[in-house]
Symmetry: C2
Subunit: 245 residues, 2 copies
DNA sequence: AGTTCACGTTGACACAGATCAAAGCGTGCA
DNA sequence: TGCACGCTTTGATCTGTGTCAACGTGAACT
């Protein structure tokens, strides 16, 4: 059943799901070798998205979901008055576009924050394959469910945490996701501006900037522009648990 | 294929999906007559949850999702320090428990705000049936996607709206959902306390109370305890669009 | 090398909403 | 019938974050 891999072009083959080093983070999780071969068939198209370009926009017809192969994205919703709510930041191995399934139109914008490449997964095909491949079906459900749980986490950020707690939670979350991808847990470059962080965290950019400065004064992190180094992970975590009433 | 309906007990039969008046709002949307019959097979158990009782708690093993047949629920997440973030209010025809799929444990609490009844849908069965019934598979994906989109809406509430806008959006959302269920768009009883509304909207109960009073002074609504009457829908909507910078 | 421009930092002040406090109201129970 | 308790309303005051403004900084382009 996975003989058809042979007719993929060589570059495509080299980057097929079965060969992809993100397969433990992405859709293929839990699939057997033969099933992985089928998945290679599902993902026929890749798309480059340059920094600042949209992968899709709110209102675009929904046809595919996207797995990030390389790069970094934000998703946001804009109000008529121009205000922006960033709903998430996505990195390699994460899935974009799930918001469009319900209405058959995308309901937010997805913008590359650095030059990126995504695997295009036509949604009808995904549904077809997941009727055949149990593990794919189940894992896709898990991906959607985790997105819901992640959103609940953001609600907690926005609903009950104060500015410094929000930023600490944000940094720890990034750290953990970089770690899962084999990067340093304590040193990384932010791909987004202070304004985008603020929009995600429900804060103004000045407040984000002040919180960064405060963390630095307290020896929790160093900040040089977008370069962050976490000096005291425990200290950041303590900020989260030490919530006064 | 739907002959097995015959072996359901009479009260169960009377309330089967195929007979349920919520079928246009709930999981069965888009299913043919024969497929509906199969769904009756899927939902074998119903469960009563009295006001104040938990349907599930964070940490409980995940086995089923739940369709609300009658009643009203809230879902929330508690922090160690006792703070509560209400993540949603659910009414008849809506699905509870999707948060548990990803980790195989529930990640929030679901509490009945009035005596309620839910249809228990074992998740492995749902996955089995949805491999056979295309329309079920697709509709289930839509339900999950809409939950994600709903969560984005809450993020916007929490991230960029001010107190009165949040409450207006909340009332309009309830109104619209009651309408879809055949109730009055302009007159309803709140099932939740001011504190719970506040927790959902990221506000303190006093702020919620003051906003209600303010709306009443302005002739937008009347409030008597939990009884709400919307006098000026357009006025409430205007509050949302009239966002100053 | 200098200019430009977007992004970031810092300070002063304002204000929406939180906090604290007290009193009102309704329902259920003894 | 009256008491108790949870919920709500309202007022007075406090405070975290927003707003406004000025200045700093680094990268890209001329």
């Amino acid at each position: 059943m996975h003989a058809q891999v042979a007719h993929l072009s060589v570059p495509a083959l080299r980057e097929a799901c079965s060969q992809c080093n993100l397969r433990e983070l992405c859709l293929p999780v839990g699939l057997s070798g033969a099933e992985l071969g089928q998945l290679d068939e599902l993902v026929q198209v890749r798309r480059r998205v340059l920094r600042g370009q949209h992968l899709y926009r709110g209102g675009d017809p929904f046809e595919s979901i996207y797995a990030i192969k390389t790069g970094f994205f934000k998703t946001d919703v804009l109000l008529e008055d121009g205000r922006e709510q960033v709903t998430g930041f996505q990195m390699a191995g994460e899935i974009l576009g799930l918001d469009g399934i319900g209405t058959e139109k995308h309901t937010c914008n997805a913008v590359a924050l650095e030059d990126s490449e995504v695997c295009v997964i036509p949604f009808v095909d995904l549904e077809n394959y997941s009727r055949e491949i149990c593990a794919l079906q189940h894992h896709f459900h898990k991906v959607m469910s985790r997105e819901i749980v992640r959103d609940h986490g953001v609600m907690m950020l926005l609903g009950i945490m104060r500015a410094e707690e929000r930023l600490a939670a944000f940094l720890l979350n990034l750290s953990q996701r970089f770690t899962a991808r084999g990067y340093s847990p304590t040193e990384f470059y932010l791909r987004m501006t202070r304004n985008e962080i603020g929009s995600y965290l429900g804060l103004k950019l000045e407040t984000v900037s002040r919180a960064f400065s405060r963390f630095q004064e307290e020896g929790l992190i160093t900040v040089h522009q977008k370069h962050i180094q976490i000096l005291n992970v425990a200290g950041l975590k303590k900020l989260l648990s030490d919530r006064r009433v």
